[in-house]
Subunit: 363 residues, 5 copies
């Protein structure tokens, strides 16, 4: 999964820039388009089938939110692009689902790309290990409207809280414009990072305990997986710092002063997320060293005990060998107490070697 | 403990921004509010039960310090917020106890978040190993007033020296305004970092001795713990550098020129703390290598000795085996001095191998 | 291959600056020059033999693209340089094929050096392992003309899509000037990086599986090769970030505003390429540690099993030795059940040691 | 020693800022104060007992240098502070001997803190290993006067060359003002760093030879010590870069243009010192890897030889065991040449195994 | 050699700044001074014995180049300094041969220090391994004159190409002023770095092959040497980046606009050199890991084979021991086919163990 961000890029090679082709997992389901428009007093939200229904909302007094769930229907994107006057390069970026988070100010609208994460174990089917999946979210903030594009729709319920707040007029969300709605959506995505990090943190804690108690090659493999997940998250979230700081300083009348204060909050949260990721990286890199030491310690313990057993018996076996020799003249052999005496000697040697090793703390 | 800074963040997921909910350890004790007001000549400090008592002090000629010990009573925070005109996002941050240290200038007041550290072994109960605990401190510096919020109250005695200086009018503290009081409180928090670092430093020194004298798997585990504690401290203290430098350059009439000179001092101390943390990191990372070498050296010593013992006896056992053979025609067996001669030969072989190993410095 | 970037530099040592000598692989094939000129309605492209044919195009109303495939014919370069008024240092740089990517604004023209990558396994011949090869591309963008120089011509088909778009007037390419053509060529080079990275990524994934399943010394060697390839790519692509950002901010009337928007796209892609390279580096550095742990784990497993076998038999052999001794008085020897009893004892010892090791998880 | 820089900081915890208490090694000897004043023609230097003698020199036409050797007499510091108008925070810093090097411009005077290093083996007593000790030097440069504070006085002879040059009017020192004197003192401190580094470099060279020839656990310990010394030096010298660059750009009439040219020299030297420290760090980090490889190589050599001896004798012992069996029907036993034949076979086996191992380069 | 850059610094300790003493290898040969003056049409170059001959050239209409080969004759330096009005600190720097590359603009002249590298194996004598040696080059560029100082003269032929171009009026060198000459000399020094890097690169390639084919402790030692050479080169070349970029931006009428274009070339080359050094560092650090893995892989192979041999024979020896026992009642001993049967069993055990190990891929 980790390497997905460069996969299929080759399909695009050689095409003119601004060519609108979809780079990503091909899906056959129909695209789900939700049209929501509201002001302080009214709120309407409905699923629409024909994209043309949204065209009148390009210039409307209410705040309009068009959410496109699934981007594999190029026609929908193109029609939206023409009607809302979106630059072809932006449309290309929306469809090319391996974008780096970025923000671009086109004057009439601001284009923002983000990455959303969720765990794979949504469905009821039993999966051994939930995997971190990601989805590209594109936002186009214009005058009084916001168009949001979600890649596959698998992580769609992340927007639900925003929808509920809109519906119930909870908080101040209905009083403000499309910029505040944009903030609310970005905020819900960033908040969700904490949920992912929390789960990752728990996993790291478990791994840590396993590491010190009973490290196995399996532990190593999991460590490697978590490490790559962190690398992957880091790559996707790090640019967000720049995005949110640009958003904070953007000189556009699309964003009101009031909303900017809230954007500062997003910036703070992003820094916190990045801090935590860096901390995890530090801890994980320490853990690999611990793993190696731990494995080698256990191995050494085993080898030491085994070697000591061998070392104690080797001289004894030698003695037994000596009295198994067939020399004609071996006086000890005819002693009456020769045999029990040798047993005593051998016991003595064994015990003294054992206590010597014990004293030396080799055992 | 280390991962606490992302725990429970998920509880907040999906709530509108500015929602005042308490993220942190739930406590049932009542919140302790201390109201202190003073000028050059007078000083009054009392614990109050009803938060409304402090309202008149929003505009007072004396310097007012309201210390809220425990932030789990949301009502108190809300009432303070309304009366002192605090932005909802600030109230949210005060309650969300996993903040990164930061400073925000709201014009009418400055909001500062810090992290305070203390060792867990406060109470008389015997604990095997004191743990580093942390607590979020929020400061709101307004005109002639300072409101401070402490998370759990466990590290509350860090403010005591400030209280005593206020009471006894020791130093210049009573002559200056709320900005100097803010400085005094931050200074006592930063000073306390040195106490923590000193203890950590002692622990590292002990570990270092243990490492070179008698490394055990236990040492490794402690090394790992100390390393994570350093990572944790670093994460919490590093942003303080920015906070203090912002405080130094803040263009607000809330901070007098005289106090700024003292803030420079905080900045210097913060840099010193960070320097020391970095130094510890360097030393610790070197120590893990030493540990590994040390363990492997000791192991090698043991294995070498054991292998040498085996190596000396194996040829001797072979000889004994040879003369235990039952060939009919083995002239040596009937020699009169055969047996003692063989003993001599075996002794000779043993001694010469031993001295060869000795000469080669293998023993 | 990796070290090629400093090879043969010594040939140039001691020559005056601006000396036009070719540093690179000497080739004997003739240089292939393609002259293309077009405007919105017309398009002509032909291979020419005499460089002088292109001279009239220095001042032409159509957009002219002169592509020089192979730079070992110094004469061609010199004649072009004189006619198009190119600075001798630029000509020197074009020939010196180990340039670092850079951009230089000479007022009348902009000089850009890039590096193009392709895999060696182009031809049908069977090669065990395709190698990453690279080629220097120099671009000179002037008023209405673009001159491009390719080193060896091995990677020449990377420009083909641009040619096809020009011919078929697909996209907007024929409507814009030489600056857009320059953009299109750089874009096709950068797009090609993704193809290379995708292949590398697949290789890394395969290596990773091999690493965890069945690591061999061969794996190590491949790991080392991939690592050096990444280092090599990184060195060549990293400066592109600066090149594209300079191109974006260049204050030259050679580049129109419209094209600059597209150049932003190149910048974004470059950052993405660099991000991916850094991610690969991180993953690879982790993989070496995994390799070492993995190898040492497997080795330990083998050694442990072998040592345990030895450890079980050593005490048994000792017992057999004891009853092979020739003492006259050894009562056990004459017992009727002595021999089977000993077998039982030895079996018992063997089994109990085995189960002890099993219980201790040593087996 | 390494951790000294945070020790005893706790003593200060809870005291008001600007409290003048001495943090450092308590000494009982009296403080030695040297008063020196000079101009181009005259030079007077004397040790004084009563600090009040220096007060008239706060405004004098000659250049005055007051050197305070030992800072444990708080009274002296306080009196100097009052008379020369020094800010209490500066006095606090002078006494708190774990300062980070810094420079502060107070308008009327500039305050500089530095760290001086020397080896412990000053006295004639034999010490096994000289240790790097450090001492804090505080400089207060005012109009026509310089006050210098040395911590313990153990490294005091570092200033001697300056004194001698002053006395003998060697160089230009007497012609310039207090700023040049300040420069001369800082220069002598920085020059001394080279002496320390030279000794450290020699130590590293010795260690390196030891490492490749005959590494012992002792070598590891020394490596660790040198590494920590480098970390310690680095921590203390790194901030000097900023100090000297600030001094270079300081906009104060206390420093003449002529002296600034010399300060540039200090800056250059500081960079050189830092470069060298970084180089040592690089070399040392490489050395630990070499140590590990070296130790493991030697160990492997030993184990290999021993294992090979065992491996050769084990099959031979087996053969001897076979012919020690008591089967009634073993034809070989009654052969006349059985015994010598077996010897030959065993010799043959031994030799062929030995040469096989030799051929495989295992020996 | 590596540590030479701090050696002998102690000799200077305690001397007044600007003291002209020579820090470096003391030589007894006379200093070789070459005076060259030229304009577009004329060129004169001669070796002079009395330094006073050059004095009239301080103000001459021709371009003058004074090359001083060997700096141990302090008198020569002093006389030059007085006549050409050079600051004492510059003279001190020229003599102190462990300078960090730097550039200083003194208005009337620009002072540049560089480091030149060459391999020791110049002379015909056979040396086992050429060593990288270095020499400090100081350049003073004034109006119409350039004074260059070379430390030991061992690497003097690096300037020869410049001399030849001057003599033969090849290139543009005679048409331009002293600034272009300065550029030409720096360029020849930087070009020479590529020669050094090329040789180093070849050495690294050889080491790499050795590493994967047949690593020995010798390989490790060489790796360590190359690594330290890289560290040494890096330390000396890295500051050149700043030097050349300063030279590029220097606001002095000593450097003409035309020459600045060439200086850009030096800057580019310096970056390329630094890039290559960093690449080498990366590759080398990877190689140490490979070395360790490689050594440990080979060792493991050996140990595994040996242990397996022992493991196969130990149970067989046990069996032989069993039938060497002297129990009176051992039915197998009197079986007719007992002995050959046992041989068969033992062969069977041996073969099945061998094939088991083979199947498990342990062999």
């Amino acid at each position: 999964m980790t390497y997905r961000f460069v996969k299929r890029a080759s399909e695009k090679f050689g095409l003119p820039p601004g060519t609108i082709i979809h780079i990503g997992d091909k899906l056959t389901e129909t695209v789900k388009i939700t049209l929501t428009y509201y002001d302080k007093n009214n709120y309407t939200s409905k699923e629409i089938l024909d994209i043309k229904e949204v065209f009148p909302f390009a210039n409307s007094s209410t705040v309009t939110w068009i959410n496109v769930d699934g981007i594999h229907d190029i026609k929908v994107i193109e029609l939206l692009g023409t009607n809302f006057n979106i630059h072809p390069l932006v449309l290309e970026d929306i469809l090319h689902t391996t974008q780096r988070p970025k923000i671009e100010d086109f004057g009439d609208y601001i284009y923002i790309v983000l990455r959303m994460f969720y765990y794979s174990s949504r469905s009821g089917e039993q999966e051994t290990k939930p995997e971190i999946l990601s989805e590209q979210v594109s936002l186009i903030l214009g005058h009084n409207f916001l168009i949001s594009f979600q890649e596959a729709g698998g992580g769609g319920d992340i927007f639900n809280p925003v929808r509920i707040r809109l519906k119930s007029a909870k908080g101040r969300i209905r009083e403000f414009g499309a910029d505040y709605l944009t903030y609310a959506i970005i905020d819900s995505i960033v908040d969700n990072y904490f949920v992912i990090l929390e789960k990752l943190g728990e996993g790291i804690e478990l791994l840590e305990d396993e590491l010190l108690d009973n490290p196995t090659p399996q532990t190593l493999e999991e460590l490697h997986t978590v490490k790559n997940e962190i690398i992957f998250l880091r790559k996707s979230i790090w640019p967000l710092r720049e995005v949110s700081s640009t958003l904070l300083r953007v000189d556009s009348n699309l964003i009101t002063k009031n909303t900017q204060m809230y954007i500062k909050d997003i910036y703070d949260h992003t820094i916190q997320v990045i801090d935590t990721i860096e901390t995890y990286r530090d801890i994980l890199s320490g853990m690999l060293d611990i793993y190696m030491s731990s494995i080698s310690n256990r191995m050494n313990e085993v080898m030491k005990v085994l070697t000591i057993i061998a070392t104690i018996f080797i001289p004894l076996t030698f003695l037994a060998g000596v009295y198994g020799m067939n020399f004609h003249y071996m006086p000890e052999l005819s002693w009456k107490w020769g045999y029990p005496l040798l047993w005593c000697i051998m016991l003595l040697i064994g015990i003294s070697m054992f206590s010597y090793f014990k004293k030396k703390k080799w055992l």
